[in-house]
Amino acid sequence: MSIQEDILNRIRDSIVNLDIEGVKHACKDALGAGLEPYRLVQSLGSGMEIVGQKYEKQEYFLADLMMAGEATKEGMAILKPHFKIESLSPLARVVLGTVRGDLHDIGKNIVRMFLEAAGFEVSDLGVDVSADVFVDAVRDYKPHILGMSALLTTTMPEMRTVIEEIERARARNKVKIIIGGAPVSSEYGKEIGADGTGRDAVQGVNLCKTWMNR
């Protein structure tokens, strides 16, 4: 195995082992060895993918997901100053937000973590996002995917409102829409015209990857 492969594997394995210091050291070593930052980002993404698989198999739990996210964030912080603009070509653009009236964001934040690690460019609108803000984001940012999160049965109906407003703005056919959150079911997603529903954050990200043929 070459030194470069060894370092890339160390980055990936440090993510899987939830080893923040391991990720930082490996990223610094990688930069010192002249490896292209985008390859290191791919290794971070590979690690997160394995973490996601372990979560789906119930070998990892939410605390482990969060720790893997932290490790990825620390790795990215080391790599980002070394990115060249021309090497930045995201897989797709995604807009995320928690709907109006809802302040929950943990699921959305996990989705953002995984999407960024997988090479998506994510614009996070935050929480309590009204329909017109979602519509403006679709119009201005031109995302490939719009993701909405709600954790309450009382805020779920906002998702329908957002989809209706996007239709009214004649932008519906320009964006794929995924919804998620504790009370949200795939039946509800079909009912309101979403393109997909994420049973959990990992499944939601996998659906986004499928849409982008990754």
């Binding site: 923040i20 739990f61 939410l62 302040l103 964001d105 954790l151």
Partner: protein, 375 residues
């Protein structure tokens, strides 16, 4: 039987006169809807942003348990930063700044937690976990002990009285800024987190001792350990970090053979053996949409654990009276055999349930919950 006898019998896993009944959380929106449908205005939540039903509400719906809530905050003075029509930003009694909805039951957004580092806990929190503070019921100098005892006795005429506290995990989320931030803090500082949980548990246990002395019938710990997808921590990590803390909170009640109830949302079945080891002998609310099945849990753990809840709020929301009746009959038919079951919704009662449906549900519990339980 009165409520005290009924709940004590149930929690001893023996057959009472009928199943117990106890719904805990009610969304403000739910009661607002029900007031419009004829619910007396006297029935309400205890206070804004606190979804617990008040005493007129407990009486109206025939609940069996009264929970008394000691002040376990750090007693920091609150600071209002911004107040809008339907939300506010304020620093609370734990020293944490949050954005909260007004007049709506919903989780707040944590903006600036009081604990970001272990040093913050040591400097800003630990000195205030002082059970000897004269303002706390646990202090020998607490001047209102007699009134506390009288309060407990007064409510025991109508209810089984438990002392209610959030558990060491949930308490930590108040300090560290909500679920996500606390998970990261704990994972990055596991040894420290373990001692932090024990410190909080010690404080809670000492507060609760005073309620035992005042005559309380039991303990109810509110400490969510999971989401719909599963526990927050692996069972091994829960065993190392949190189980000792839960054991500490339960200990005063275990010593006196008083019941210990645990509320935890989510799919937490992998942790149940550990909850039992920690000293809990009843679990609430058994959420259906998180894959928790009251019938399966009765089968697997019925010899060691009483169950509270499991009635699917999605079915109650349907308005389909036959479906509600079937839900009640089928769940009671299994969960109540041999005692050990208190009927309740499987989560906060949402505003999608009409008052008529809820009243029908309550009556069905009384009808089908009378012993001997029919199949």
């Amino acid at each position: 039987m009165n409520s005290r006898e009924r709940i004590r019998t149930i929690l001893n896993r023996q057959e009472p006169d009928r199943v117990g009944f106890q719904d805990t959380d009610f969304f403000s929106d739910t009661l607002e809807r029900w007031h419009g449908e004829g619910l007396p205005r006297s029935v309400d939540v205890l206070r804004p942003n606190w979804p617990w039903l008040n005493v007129p509400g407990l009486r109206y719906f025939g609940h069996d348990i009264y929970v008394t809530w000691p002040d376990i905050s750090l007693k920091y003075d609150a600071i209002d930063y911004e107040v809008a029509d339907n939300w506010s930003i304020a620093k609370d009694e734990f020293g944490t700044t949050k954005k909260s909805w007004t007049g709506k039951t919903a989780s707040p957004q944590f903006l600036d937690p009081v604990v970001k580092t272990p040093q913050d806990f040591e400097g800003r929190v630990e000195p205030l976990l002082d059970h000897l503070d004269i303002r706390r019921v646990s202090s020998a100098g607490y001047p209102f002990r007699q009134e506390l005892e009288q309060m407990v006795k007064r409510f025991q005429r109508e209810f089984f009285v438990t002392v209610g506290v959030v558990g060491p995990w949930e308490y930590s989320t108040y300090l560290c800024g909500g679920l996500a931030a606390t998970l990261v803090f704990v994972m990055k500082n596991q040894d420290f987190a373990s001692s932090m949980f024990m410190r909080i548990a010690d404080f809670l246990a000492k507060i609760c001792e005073s309620y035992i002395a005042a005559g309380a019938d039991g303990l109810w710990v509110f400490d969510d350990q999971g989401s719909q997808d599963g526990p927050f921590f692996s069972p091994r990590l829960y065993e190392r970090l949190l189980e000792p803390a839960h054991e500490k909170v339960c200990a005063p009640f275990v010593r006196r053979d008083l019941p210990r109830l645990l509320h935890s949302d989510g799919h937490i079945e992998p942790l149940i053996p550990h909850f039992i080891d920690a000293g809990f002998l009843a679990l609430h609310p058994v959420q259906n949409k998180a894959g928790m099945d009251v019938k399966k849990l009765k089968e697997r753990y019925g010899d060691e654990l009483a169950l509270i809840g499991g009635m699917d709020t999605r079915i109650l929301s349907s308005g389909d009276l036959d479906a509600i009746r079937n839900e009640v009959r089928s769940k009671i038919g299994v969960a109540a055999k041999g005692g050990g079951y208190i009927a309740a919704s499987d989560g906060p009662v949402p505003p999608t349930i009409s008052l008529d449906s809820y009243k029908f549900f309550v009556e069905a519990v009384k009808k089908y919950g009378a012993y001997p339980i029919r199949d």
